[in-house]
Symmetry: C2
Subunit: 450 residues, 2 copies
């Protein structure tokens, strides 16, 4: 078989890069668990009827077919199976399927790959890992959980070795109430138009507001003024008031957004910021209150690297409705470009902190015994493959990025060498320990990016 | 949307069960890393030409098709893509693709799902997680790595909360050399016949040896005698010698198998045993030396829960050959039946060790501050959703399996209650710590199964 070529849209990591991904997953998991979020994994397939809801997502779904079967594989009801394209659809199904065995409000985190058959580009892959947190209630879910879930993701991302991050938060009630109070005839069309501010100049958006949402030119101007408000504190409330629009839903949206900004205030810093940005709408998705997107400094070209919000009906089985609020973070979308740019890397490709040298093949048992003594105290190590000259064994450690070489001796006079400094000292395999920072591979981040 | 039904062959875990799976994955990873194995993950798809080798596996492959595309999805060379059905095929491809960036011998572990479109049954799923370790060399790989990889898996499985396990080890050189030295005309047919000893009575297997492998009745008898040897030490060497067959390959096989048994001797115990079992053949797979299967006490009906061996050509790009030796452990195959039988479970479904109670809605900020103090010292906790009567809040903790309820107080006189004993004591949120065994959910194993 010939040398294989990479598969476009299916990025794969080298061992040192995988160190970074694992540390990110472990760190996210630690923060989520400190806040009481339970981990689950869902199967990777769902019946097509759950995945395809008539939206544009349809064309991106991978369906499964058994190689030797005439037709696509089906579930017991005859539905085709497809790979999930996010973690929200399978989670909603999981909640419905297992509701009788779950306690609500149910906090869960889920870190798994998802698949989309779309054209690959930087930050967009056919297989990509996401980290989602959601809190789901049965019938009702207090608003304070909106504050909670945003704050947890702020803390989780702050703990990661990433460039600066910015949470841009808004509230659908605020936008909808404002448009309604302003008297815009078609609120949905207005949201759709404002959502185009990324791509179109504002006078073009104003034209859309007039033509498609039925706004007067003056109303359109007010909408643009609202969308222009972006602050890192709750001063947006006063700014919106000054636009002179009164509406009950608007008031509720202002109160909720202010509570999210306030609730995160003690967690933000130079690394992770939280701002009220009144142009964030998250398209026409199922969000009903809080909405947010996350952007990474220097990587604005990736668009959002995370996002989420409040949905009053995450799932429903016709009798019971499950409201939810959640935030999703794009692990692959963030990590693959940072690894490709060399901003992040693992400090070494192997877990081993120590390479145990070999005097000759007959004494392999002796070297193995030293290795076992080190492992018994939690020190990862490996025994060199061949009893070459010590110089060659040291170069083996260098090539593998292993910081220490252990020279065993039958008479018990062991020595260990730090191959970076060349320092070699007598050491006892039952007592010697490497410095903590050398014990495991670490994530290394280019200084200027910190 | 109606209540979804489970999908046959795609088992999913409840949060407390997932605690068990995560602990098993974490424990395996710890042992593998102590021995210098680096973690990788491969993409889940491979070009069909790599997956389909004309064997019976073909019919079990899931191929991908984009929902809106006319044809199946293809790679740049026009090959269909399929989900991997094990972790060996993608690992072999990974080694070939990234060989220039890897250091050999390359030790890797990989814990990922794989997919087979086969009929589901206990221990056999359409989506299942495996944990594989392999050591791969470039051009050559010393035999001592056979001993190493078996020993590492023995230590890894010994650290798991599982019923007793038995490693059954053999060597293909031993069998082949024995048959050759005995003068059996068709050695391959003889291996095939002996491999049926699980399913057929031995006189039936003797008949196959005569009819299909061209053995004389007396030779067939010798083959059965060899296959009957099963010991926990190296006394098999003498037992084979007494069968009176001489062959160079047989000698090499005996030496290698004895080295594996010897190399594991100091790691075995009542929980994990290692035996030489001279009927193990692992079918007609690509193994060329060491072969082994792992069985679980009380779950013999699952057949092997792990297996592996030596393959002199794990991968080859036509110019370079990569020999390897590895062992695979079936995480789902083992775990799903044990969870279903209630042998294993998680001690609670949430990470929270503490539920912080709420005096009233206005003091939520105070309860949140207590929770943050506890989290800052690594104690997972959650604040109760509603300021109900304390009795109700305690029952909330009970339902969620949370062992401690924290009662905050504005005047600083905090108290914490162990809801299992009812004991309630004054506590400082900046200093109090739960007992270590309560800090995180644990794996609970039924006593009689230990």
């Amino acid at each position: 078989m010939s040398k294989p070529s990479p598969l476009s849209g299916f990025p794969e990591l080298l061992p040192a890069q995988r160190v970074v991904e694992r540390e990110i997953v472990a760190s996210l998991s630690r923060t989520f668990e400190l806040h009481g979020f339970a981990n689950i994994e869902t199967r990777v397939v769902e019946p097509l009827e759950r995945l395809a809801k008539g939206g544009e997502i349809d064309k991106e779904i991978y369906v499964l077919r058994r190689l030797q079967a005439e037709d696509s594989d089906v579930d017991s009801g005859g539905n085709m199976l497809g790979l999930h394209f996010d973690l929200t659809v399978p989670f909603a199904r999981y909640v419905l399927e297992h509701a009788g065995k779950l306690e609500f409000p149910f906090r869960r985190f889920q870190i798994q790959p998802a698949w989309r058959g779309e054209r690959p580009q930087e930050g967009r892959y056919r297989q990509f890992t996401q980290a989602d947190i959601d809190i789901v209630g049965r019938d009702e879910l207090g608003f304070h959980h909106d504050v909670e879930v945003v704050r947890v993701m702020v803390e989780a991302l702050d703990a990661l070795p990433l460039p600066g991050l910015s949470f841009q938060v808004n509230n659908r009630k605020l936008i909808q109430g404002f448009y309604r109070g302003l008297g815009i005839p078609d609120v949905t069309a207005a949201i759709k138009a404002i959502d185009k501010l990324d791509k179109l100049p504002s006078d073009e958006v104003a034209r859309l507001l007039v033509e498609q949402a039925g706004a007067t030119p003056e109303q359109a101007q007010r909408c643009l003024e609202l969308a222009g408000i972006r602050v890192a504190d709750t001063s947006f409330v006063q700014q919106v008031r000054e636009l002179g629009v009164g509406d009950e839903l608007l008031d509720q949206g202002l109160t909720e957004l202010a509570a999210v900004i306030d609730g995160c205030a003690s967690a933000v810093n130079d690394h992770v910021r939280v701002e009220a940005n009144l142009r964030i709408a998250r398209g026409l998705d199922y969000y009903t209150g809080t909405v947010l997107e996350v952007f990474m400094d220097g990587y604005e070209r990736l668009k959002s690297v995370g996002g989420g919000g409040r949905y009053d009906a995450l799932a429903s089985d016709g009798r019971t409705t499950y409201p939810g609020v959640g935030v999703s973070f794009g692990v692959s979308r963030t990590l693959i470009p940072l690894l490709a740019d060399g901003v992040l890397d693992g400090s070494r490709p192997v877990p081993s902190a120590v390479l145990v040298a070999l005097v000759d093949e007959d004494s392999r048992g002796h070297s193995l015994a030293v290795a076992q003594q080190l492992r018994a105290r939690g020190i990862p190590c490996e025994v060199v493959a061949h009893p070459q000259k010590f110089g060659k064994q040291i170069r083996t450690a260098e090539r593998r990025g292993i910081p220490f070489v252990w020279f065993p001796s039958a008479d018990g006079s062991h020595e260990v060498k730090d191959i970076r400094t060349g320092e070699q000292v007598a050491a006892d395999p039952a007592a010697w320990t490497p410095p903590t920072e050398d014990l495991r591979p670490r994530v290394v981040m280019k200084e200027q990016e910190l």
